[in-house]
């Protein structure tokens, strides 16, 4: 399951690590855009398979930030 950025901005914090189990609604990544911090939450429960971003990296709306396996 791909979790994309819902806004264009930069990555402020990555809140999870590979292998970690997450519940639906857990914060995976916090993006920063236009002086706001916007959390990106897990749409469903799963395990973090891959992290495709790192702090300070610019991202566009739709870019995949984290990949989860159910």
């Amino acid at each position: 399951m791909d979790v994309p950025a819902h806004i264009t901005g930069t990555v402020w914090k990555v809140e999870v690590s590979v292998g970690q189990k997450v519940a639906a609604g857990d914060v995976l990544v916090i993006l920063e855009s236009m002086k706001m911090e916007m959390p990106v939450e897990a749409p469903d429960a799963g395990t973090v398979k891959e992290i495709r971003c790192q702090p300070t990296q610019p991202v566009n709306e739709g870019d995949v930030l984290v990949v989860l396996t159910p």
Partner: protein
């Protein structure tokens, strides 16, 4: 008067300050980050100096780079605008030490206002009513719990070191206090570098009304009437107006008089000079001091258009040591003005939406002023706040200003990114807005898509 001015800001306010300064015969110096190299405020300046890469800490917050730019260009004065270094007392002091005039209040006055908890205590000491709250910062959760019993619920946990509502969290009951306390302290630490927080009573439906202050360095102080800024999202203003509908046609004159007096008392207590704003919450016929902002406000144009007081012009004259020639009795309101903050954001969920301005055509017409930071073909980056432009509309009364606003908003053509023009149209078409029934939670209940 100094002859050159470095403008330590960007976007619409840098442009506006530059235009006022050039009309007064000053040489203007813009500073910019790599993200703004092609921006209108840079092109219009007499001279421009690159500060660094786009992130604010490397550019508009970079005190060393700003001072270097002032030195290299021989700038005699610096105007900080709003945001960025505008409320940074150390920057103001560093300017003074470098022999450059800082256009703003004395640094010691700024320092008194910066810590919101301290500012609150100072205002209360001067007889200004304040929102019931903790006496200063609360050290830990236990201190917060004890203070909360005196303040009462619901309450707000606020960051002492910052502004803009950043970190603010509501606790509706003792059970919610721990979560609110930790959330606010964490956000305060990451945003302002210190986790000090304080508590304030939370009002479910207050109005936000503020008073413009103007003072010179000889101790003359006056107020330039009030503005209402109740329409907010995420504790940030979206629509402002002058005057407040609460006081139109002579209504609530006693409350307005108390507010003006309280604003002057607060400004005196802070040792204020130059332009500043004292913010109040109004609830149940009572007013409560929130904070004093040691700078020009985003919404200053609604005051300029209805009082004809040139606030930026006065800032520059006061900073150069000139005496206020205005008298309190000269300050009278004519007509009504509304300001709409045009943001690059989704008009329903208010999510940021940077992107290219493929089409950007602001409206023109009688009573319409647009202070825009961008031009068609420009790019709005994610690095700074989402303000694209301010649409300021005036009329002989509030009804005429609202009618003109509707046409102006309909004609405002923006393509290439999401923007909140549709939100503004919903607001001014809302019955409660038209009747002037405003409160800071207006957008939670009204103007829905």
């Amino acid at each position: 008067m100094f002859r050159s001015l470095l403008i330590a800001n960007r976007g619409e306010i840098a442009r506006r300050i530059g235009s006022v300064a050039r009309s007064m015969g000053l040489r203007t110096i813009a500073v910019y980050s790599d993200a703004d190299a092609e921006a209108p405020f840079v092109k219009e300046a007499d001279q421009a100096v690159r500060l660094g890469p786009p992130p604010p800490k490397d550019s508009y917050l970079n005190v060393e780079a700003l001072l270097r730019a002032a030195k290299e260009t021989g700038a005699e004065a610096v105007h900080p605008g709003y945001g960025f270094v505008s409320e940074n007392a150390e920057f103001a002091r560093a300017c003074t030490d470098a022999g450059v005039v800082f256009v703003g209040p004395p640094p010691e006055s700024m320092a008194r206002m910066k810590d919101k908890a301290q500012a609150r205590a100072l205002a209360a000491g001067a007889g200004v009513p304040v929102v019931p709250g903790s006496d200063g910062v609360v050290a830990d959760l236990r201190g917060a719990t004890e203070a909360a019993e005196r303040v009462g619920y619901p309450l707000l946990v606020k960051a002492a070191g910052g502004g803009g509502g950043i970190g603010m969290a509501v606790a509706g009951s003792p059970a919610e206090l721990e979560k609110a306390f930790r959330a606010c302290a964490d956000r305060a630490r990451s945003a302002f570098g210190r986790d000090a927080v304080y508590l304030e009573r939370y009002f479910p439906a207050p109005r936000h009304i503020e008073v413009q202050i103007l003072g010179d360095t000889q101790g003359n102080l006056l107020h330039v009437l009030e503005r209402e800024c109740s329409i907010q999202r995420r504790h940030q203003k979206v629509v402002e107006e002058a005057g407040s509908p609460l006081f139109l046609e002579g209504k609530n004159a006693d409350l307005l008089a108390r507010m003006s007096k309280a604003a002057l008392s607060a400004a005196r207590a802070f040792g204020y000079a130059n332009a500043g704003t004292v913010e109040f919450l109004v609830a149940d016929g009572e007013l409560f001091f929130i904070e004093m902002n040691a700078r020009l406000q985003v919404e200053h144009p609604v005051t300029e258009l209805t009082t004809r007081v040139d606030l930026i012009g006065w800032q520059l004259r006061i900073a150069s040591g000139e005496r206020l020639t205005l008298q309190q009795q000269d300050i009278r309101r004519q007509g009504h003005a509304l300001e709409f903050r045009i943001y690059a954001e989704d008009p329903v969920r208010f999510l940021p939406s940077p992107g290219p301005l493929k089409v950007f055509r602001p409206p023109e017409g009688e009573g319409i002023r647009v202070d825009a930071g961008y031009a068609e073909g420009g790019v709005v980056t994610p690095y700074y706040d989402p303000l694209l432009a301010k649409l300021i509309v005036s009329g002989k009364d509030r009804a005429e200003a609202i009618r003109r606003s509707e046409g102006a908003l309909e004609r405002f053509a923006i393509e290439g990114l999401k923007n909140n023009v549709p939100l503004h149209l919903r607001i001014i078409r809302d019955r409660a807005f038209q009747e002037g029934a405003l409160d800071t939670h207006f957008l939670e209940h009204h103007a829905k898509a």
